[in-house]
Amino acid sequence: MTQATPDAIRLDSVSKSFRLDDGNSVTALEGIDLGLREGEFVAVLGPSGCGKSTVLRLIAGLESASTGEVRIEGRAPSQLAAAHRLGVAFQDHALLPWLSVAQNIALPYRVAGTKVDNARVDALIELVGLTGFRDARPSQLSGGMRQRASIARALVLDPDVLLLDEPFGALDAVTRRHMNVELQRIWSTRTLTTLLVTHSVDEAIFLADRIIVMTGRPGRILREVTVPFPRPRDPSVLRTPEFHAMVDELTLALEPEEAAL
């Protein structure tokens, strides 16, 4: 890796506080410095409520930083969205209930005003394992199936930046592993700067180049770990002692109170 390439995504001493209805405010993030190189895959781990989704929403341009600055390719995040180059899979899938699976996945084309590439939509449906459900509506799917549809939708426009907020949270271990392998395959074929929020240490290590561990109240970055495993990563990596050692190390980092005992 060359240090000369500037970061594709940069957060510079970003803090974020929310004003609550009772007039008080809560500090969700404080002093966040984070850079993602172009094409880098970064996973974010941390306890519930520590501000992971908030980081993702700042990068997506859905929230603005209270202090500090968020930049994508040196510009405001909203410009990337306006160019239809951003793919996001939200924590709560956000599928439109009146559209079928295929129509939901094709929605980004319609919103961008370009022709729907049906072959690509079908390929993505197959990729996320929803063949046979292309005409089903979201209410007829399970939670995990909805998440997979929303991942397909995030990928359909072939974005340059991909943001995934616990996209596999509702999946069983086998489907999750399968999706991990598929995601890695897509990711290896092209340059795609990715931020993945997850609760699974295994998943983070298997997929990411670098892992950010956060702590809560207020949300800060506790540590950053570079994942040493070479790519492409075969699922057999998951069984190596190095992998297990890294899982243990990160799991411990996520439980600082118990580590101190």
Partner: protein, 248 residues
Amino acid sequence: MTRLSQFLARNWAVLLLLALWQGWVSLAGLNSIVLPAPWPVLRDVLSHPALYLANAAQTLATAAAGVAIGLALGALVAVAAWASRLLAGMLTPLGLIFSSVPVVALIPILARLLGYDISTVVAIVAVSAFFPTFVFVGAGLKDLPRGADDLFGVLGASRAARLRHLVLPATVPNLMIALRITVPEGVLAAILAEFLMGRSGLGFMFREAASRFAMERALGTSLVVTVAAVLCFSLAHRAERVVRTRWS
């Protein structure tokens, strides 16, 4: 046997009403000018099918035209209010006030303004459908599925794309609620307007018959009106249910 008991179970209230009606007329020995018995009323309807059908068709067509115009305009103005904050500030309070004014109060005013003919009846129905539609569709435009706003944000949606792909489809169930409310109301408004100022239709037919004490004809008209209103209501209700399940 089960057919009969099913029929009784579903329609016992109507049958009871008919029995009470018949009983009251025979026991009190009422003159048919005061209140005719059920059977002569039904016989009048059955022996003049063309007359009743023609007038019912006229009333329903008037109501349908008025409801269609009212729904279209109500939805259009609601979208205009969505698109412009200035318009919203003007229209929303107006819509809320007018949607609570009863149609009866508007009929004389509109008749005076537009003249005493069929287009005025259509206009009255349209007005009665306009305000509920405006209010419901306006509410539907703001009632978006969870997360949809964020989704359209990250998709870089223009305001036009947001309207077309999110806001308009999201309001369809509310448009159907407006339909369910305005269809029976529109039928009643059409009949009322015909009664007060019309030259044809069921409302006029009732007034005309009552004025010459043809009570079988008058009550026959009421019967047809009731059946038509119930039919319209259940059709609109069913349409709303179908769309709602499709939309959730």
